[in-house]
Each structure stands twice: as structure tokens, then as C-alpha cells.
């Protein structure tokens, strides 16, 4: 049960990463690799600030803003300096590696026995259970700490998902979605499409950094390597979500992305339990994304072939 709660918690935290990538990859169709750097950026800033005695909530907010800055830099490299989108992301990601090391001062900042954003909820749960260290959930004993982390991630994820879905249905959000759909049309409606791209990337990487901030607090450390491969991870989650519920409508896309992220995390947890070598994890993830991208085309191909055969027969 603890394994499942843990997987759910990490899944919910990483949902913010996937939601951020939903904006860049799916809404404005920008292949943004900044993600690998901005996730670590969020984690690094939060870890250092919390270790320095800041309130966890404030530290998390600073991480969000820093992520937005990183995303804007990528956006400006692309729009203002006309650098290819992938290269813009790679440049910022590479630069962020040094920035993150500078922020942390070393490659790993532990966060043991420090406050986290789930602390208020933890106190509340303790009060409700009269100071018990375990809560009974469906007959399992779950540590109050884990339960608080799970509930606060759920709360944060729900709040951000709701805000995002509301935002995307505003005038501004509608224009944002159209920017990825048809740039020519958007310009003809008098919209500065470059500004929209910069803003979208800022919002996207803000969410990613937020995810990194929460992840660092949950796992109790920030590491300069923790962002590597996260872009592919988020992409895999989005693809699973789309396979689960489709992509018609904003609410559905957002819900699908969250489900996809949690399911992917559960699958990974199970695979690791069954003896998958953690070193192979990124290889497996990359293979999965490859298959998810190729499979639909391959199915279509087979389908056409079968149709042809049946016609000839």
C-alpha cells in the first residue's frame, strides 16, 4: 500500500510537469527541452531556500517564477533571435545545468527533517488522529507523513488543473491554443503570436519548476541530475493520457494527462518491483515513447494492407 501511495504521490507531483508540457507540446506545438533543466531549477531553488529557513510555500512560489523565467528565455531565443526551437531549448537546458550547480553550490542538497508544503496538512491529520503516527486506510497502516504528502499533492494538482482548464477557456487561453493550431490565422486576428509563444513557454516551464520543487520536498533532496530524461517522461505520460481518454476538449486533455502520469508512475513502480534494473529505466521510457509514436502509423499500415488483401480476394 505504501508503494501505491508513494507512486500516486509522485504521479500527482509529476502531473504538473506533464500539464506544463501539455501546454508546450500539445497546445503551441513547441518541442521544448528546457524542461530537463527547469525541473532541476525548481528543485534546486526550493531546496536551497528551505535549507536556509524560508517557508516552504514561499520557496515553492519562487521556484515557479524561476521556471517561468527559464521558459521565457527559451521563448525569446526562438522568437527574437530566430534560433530553432529544439536548439533554443538545448541552449537554455545546458546553461541551466551550471546555474543549478551555482544555486546549490554542490551537486546534491539534502532536505532531511525540514519543513515541506505538506506540513500544515500533516499537523491537521495528526490532530484528527490524536497524534497517531499511522492512519488506517482500507486496512493498511499508512504513515501520517505519507498521507499528508499524498493529500497535499492531490490538492495542489487539483487546484492547478482547475485553474489551467479555466484559463484555457478564457479569451487569452483560446488565443494561446489557436497559436499552435494556425499561426497565420492568429496573426490575421491581430494577435502577436511571438508573444504568445514566449508566454506559453514561461507558463509551461513555471509548472515544470513547480513540479520539481514539490518533488525535491517529497523525496527529501535536490540533485543536479534529477531533471535528465524528464521531458521524455512527461511526453510518455501525455501519450498514455491521450490513449486513455482521447484529446477532445480541454477538460478531457487535462484529466487524461493527470491519469496518464499517475498510471505511468504506477507501471514504473510495478516494473521496478518485478526486478527492472533502475539503470534501464530511461531506456525503457524512451522505447515506450518510440513505440507509442510509431504504433498508430503501423496499425494504420497493417489495416490498409488487410483491406487491400480482402479487396483482392
Amino acid at each position: 500500500m505504501n508503494l501505491v501511495i508513494g507512486a500516486f504521490t509522485i504521479g500527482l507531483i509529476l502531473s504538473l510537469l506533464s500539464l506544463g508540457m501539455l501546454i508546450s507540446f500539445r497546445m503551441i506545438r513547441f518541442t521544448d527541452i528546457t524542461v530537463d533543466g527547469s525541473l532541476t531549477l525548481g528543485a534546486a531553488i526550493t531546496a536551497v531556500l528551505i535549507a536556509a529557513g524560508w517557508s516552504p510555500l514561499l520557496a515553492t512560489m519562487v521556484a515557479f517564477v524561476a521556471g517561468m523565467l527559464a521558459g521565457s528565455v527559451t521563448g525569446l531565443l526562438y522568437t527574437r533571435f530566430k534560433i530553432q526551437e529544439i536548439l533554443s531549448g538545448i541552449l537554455v537546458m545546458t546553461a541551466l545545468y551550471s546555474v543549478n550547480l551555482r544555486i546549490m553550490g554542490r551537486s546534491n542538497v539534502p532536505l532531511l527533517d525540514t519543513a515541506t508544503v505538506s506540513l500544515p496538512l500533516q499537523h491537521l491529520l495528526s490532530q484528527m488522529t490524536d497524534g497517531e503516527r499511522y492512519i488506517l486506510l482500507f486496512g493498511w497502516q499508512v504513515p501520517v507523513v505519507d498521507m499528508a504528502a499524498f493529500l497535499s499533492s492531490l490538492l495542489l494538482c487539483a487546484v492547478f488543473a482547475w485553474m489551467l482548464s479555466r484559463f484555457l477557456q478564457t479569451h487569452f487561453g483560446t488565443v494561446l491554443r489557436a497559436t499552435g493550431n494556425n499561426v497565420q490565422m492568429v496573426r490575421a486576428q491581430g494577435i502577436n503570436n511571438n508573444m504568445m509563444v514566449v508566454f506559453s513557454l514561461a507558463l509551461s516551464n513555471g509548472l515544470v519548476a513547480l513540479s520539481g520543487a514539490l518533488l525535491a520536498q517529497y523525496q527529501g533532496f535536490a540533485d543536479v541530475q534529477m531533471g535528465i530524461g524528464m521531458m521524455v517522461w512527461g511526453l510518455a505520460s501525455i501519450i498514455i493520457g491521450e490513449a486513455l481518454v482521447g484529446k477532445s476538449g480541454i477538460g478531457i486533455a487535462i484529466a487524461g494527462t493527470i491519469f496518464g502520469t499517475i498510471l505511468f508512475r504506477l507501471l514504473i513502480a510495478i516494473a521496478l518491483r518485478w526486478g527492472l534494473n533502475p539503470n534501464d529505466l530511461k531506456l525503457v521510457t524512451a522505447l515506450f515513447v518510440f513505440l507509442a509514436l510509431v504504433a498508430p502509423r503501423w496499425f494504420k499500415f497493417v489495416h490498409v494492407k488487410i483491406n487491400k488483401k480482402s479487396k483482392h480476394a
Binding site: H171, R177, G190, I191
Partner: protein
Amino acid sequence: MLEIKGLIKTFFPHTINEVKALRDIDLTIQEGSFTAIIGTNGSGKSTLLNAIAGTFIPDSGSILLAGQPITFWPEFQRAKLIGRVFQNPFAGTAAEMTIAENIVMAMRRGLSHPLSKAVTSKARAEIKERVSVLKMGLEDRLDNPIGTLSGGQRQALTLLMATWLKPKILLLDEHTAALDPKSAAKVAELTKYIVDKEKLTAMMVTHSMQQAVDLPDRIVMMHKGKIVADYQKEHKQRVRIPDLLATFDRVQKKELFDESVATLLREQYV
């Protein structure tokens, strides 16, 4: 309304691909007039429209629209003043978004896009009312993605969107050329209806001689980046297709055209 002076644009200058697309164009469009621009492929008609819309900045010359010097304005800024319909029926709408969402953006063309709900019930009612004018039954499909519509339907919606807020000038770039004959006729009829009803100033690039004679009240003929003929007012009333062809022939005799171009013209227009 629109004043173009000495407009020059050369693409790929100083290379073997150099194209002198616009050579010193002077053109004044009166308020409330409907002008057709005809000419061969590569004569610069679409380039002229794109220069007005701001797709590129001209090498020299000036464009004055509704008293505003827009020569160096970026494309998106000009959209405040300009409504556009493109040749490609897929270019004017966002395919994966619904009819309502597309129109909501056009309802605020050139205005700010605030953080308030876009498709409200009030907006929906207004959209329903104006879309029903098209008589395509689209008012009952407002929540369908535009990508599910036919090219003709999409082009009709694009036209509606371009004129939702009255533009200072409406630019139509061969907007019926990619449609089947029936849809093309329908969109042409709709164009005439909207332009007359809203008393719009419009410019239309067309390859259809019939359209050039039927719809507008002025015909401008272009060749190799220059204006070679201009029929206005009572002249335009008397113009028939053979007259236009005769003009093409005359231009050819002046050796502005070579033989191949004249043949091409006949194939295209007759």
C-alpha cells in the same frame, strides 16, 4: 481610404532567383469601393495584397490606410484595420478548435484578449444569429471542430470572421479558387452580399474573369509587377470579358507580354 505610393518589392535581390514582384505601384482605393485585381501568375497581384496585409515590409514606397501610415507596422498590428480571407480554405481558421471558439477570436480582432470566459452564452447567441445568415446549418454545430467542415463552409466562416468587426479594408486573395464550382459560386455570392450589406471597402484577387466582371465596381489589371490597366466607374460598367481579353492582347502587342504568357492567359480565362 487606401493610398499606395511608389511601392517596390524585390524578392531574393542580387541572386539568379531575383523576382521584381512590385515595380513602383501607385494605387488609390476609394472608401466603399470593391476592386478586383487580375493578371497572370507571378504578375504581383497576391504580392500587392500581402504588402497591404503586412506579410513583408516593402523595399520602398508607402501605404496609408484610413489615414494611418501602416508601411512598417507588423502584420498582427494591421489586423485591427484589415480583414483577410486566404486562397487556402484551411488558412483562415484553427482546425482543431470549435466554430464558436474560432469566431470568438474574430469578435475581438485587433482588441485585447482578457482573462474572462471566451464562449459565454451571450457570445453564443450572437454567433448563432450571425452564422445562420450563411444558411449552411452551421448554427447548430457551434461546438464542432472547424476541421470537420468542408472547404466551402470553412471559407464562408472565414469571410464572416474577417468582417465580424467592420474592417477598414477587406482583402480577398483568390478566396474561391480552391473550392469546387458550387461552393465557389456560393462563397462569391456571399461575398457580394456581405460587402454590399456592410458597405465594405474590398480588394479581391481573382483568376475568374467572370467574377471580376460580376462582383466588383473596379478592375485593375497587373502584369510583371506593374498596373497595366484600370477600369473604373462607367468604364467598368461597360467592360465585358472580351474587352479584358482584348486588353491582354493589346498589352501583348506592346511587347509587354510574350507569346507564351498570352497563351497562358487564354487558357486560364477563356
